[in-house]
Structures are given as C-alpha cells and as structure tokens.
Symmetry: C2
DNA sequence: ACAATATTCAACCATATGGTTGAATATTGC
DNA sequence: GCAATATTCAACCATATGGTTGAATATTGT
C-alpha cells in the first residue's frame, strides 16, 4: 500500500468501510453514531475510520469530547481516473463476466 | 472480501497487480512474460494472477504448457458504478485533499 | 469534585496477504 | 525416452488486517 491510489483502493475494499462512507455521505456524524447501526464494537469502527482518514476519505473535527467525522470524496477521483483508463475494454465480454460471478457465487455459498 | 465489488477492489489495490493489468491491456501474455519485467519470483506473479482471476479481471486459456492470460475489464464496471455514486461530492475541497497527501508524503519518506 | 459519556490506546488473537524456496506436474522438442 | 521449459502446488515465514477486551484520556454536566 505504498502510493495514494493503493491506499484509497485498500480503504474502500472493505464492505464496512464502504458502508461507513455511505452513511457519511448523508452528513457528518460522531463516531458513536456511525458505529450504532453496525454489529461491531466501537473500537473496530474507530479503526476503520482511521484507515479512511489515512486515505483522505474522511475528515475529523474535534468538538469537545465528540469527534465529528466528515466525508471527503476527493481521493475517489484517483480511483475514477484509474478505472477510466480501462473503460474502453469493458464493452466486450459481458456475458462471460456474468458467468464468472455466477460460478463463484455457487462455490462461495 | 465477501462480495464481488470487494474482491475487485481488493485485487486492484495492489500496485503489482495494477501493473500486471496495465501490461495485459496491451495484449494477452504468458505467465513468464508477465513476470519478466518485475522484481518478483514467478511464483509471486502466479499468485497475483490467481487473485486477479478470482476477481474476474483476468482470463486464462491453456495452450499446451503455456497459460495465456487475457485482460477482462468487465468487473471494473462495478468499481466505476460505485465510485460514481459519490462523483457529486468531490467537486468541493480539492485544496484540502492536496494538503492531505502532501503531509502524508512527508511522513512516509 | 465526580459520575457519565466519547473516544482512543494497548495488548492480544486469528486469519489473510505477499513473499520465498523447493518439489510436483505437464508439455515440448530432439 | 529424456532434457528443457512452463506453470502450479505445498510449506513456510513475516507482516498486515480486522476483530476483541480492558484501561487510559478528555470532556461534559450536575
């Protein structure tokens, strides 16, 4: 995870962290509020937030004992730019893709 | 790494694997050919290819003793779709983003 | 001053990841 | 048949990751 893009991709590769971002897209929130809907300890959420913060996807403003966490989408532009390098490739081969995921889902469940 | 999107993001979050995809975007190649420009053992590359294959980003066609690896960009559409959920958020706050990465680069080197 | 609240820090644990080396397997070409 | 080539498999290792619990720190409100 050496470069910025890797950090961002690593951060968003975890479902809980994407869920946290989704929540934060609705507006800033305190750590406890973010953690509430999850089946996770507060500590685990705190760790996830640190990862997101390290990738620049989240911002923290301390207000007394509360830390107000705020979504910062900027770094996602790196992802967008990278993925669009390959946009022209993904027109062909859609049916094969679907077959692939169908197979994988079978073995996974 | 439970869902498809997580698998894809996890796969592309590693710089070597992104480099492999970049190479494959120029055309299919054998494992040895892919490994050649890297400072990595053949086995390491073989593992990376398995991760990419698991995410559906790569396809394998065996031709005798050669495995011809082929780029499949389809799964990147999942990434594109996800990231564009947040496109509207990344207009504001660009300067803060740049400050963030500048700071991080300082402590990293 | 003190109890309650918000958050992090620290230690620990299990599993995943990324790498290595060495052996196994399959195919080619002489 | 046999040596060389292409690739994977298996075991191992170090470190990272995602989670836990328990203690520490800071702030609030009475």
């Amino acid at each position: 995870m050496d470069d910025d893009l890797s950090a961002v991709l690593g951060a968003i590769s975890h479902p809980s962290r994407r869920a946290i971002l989704q929540r934060l897209a609705e507006g800033p929130a305190r750590v406890t509020d973010i953690a509430a809907p999850f089946d996770l300890s507060l500590n685990a959420v705190s760790k996830h937030l640190k990862v997101l913060e390290g990738a620049g996807l989240v911002d923290r403003e301390r207000q007394g004992r509360d830390h107000v966490i705020r979504f910062r989408a900027g770094p996602l532009r790196l992802v967008s730019r990278w993925v669009h390098l390959y946009e022209k490739f993904w027109t062909e081969g859609l049916d094969r893709l679907e077959r692939h995921f169908k197979e994988k889902r079978k073995t996974r469940s």
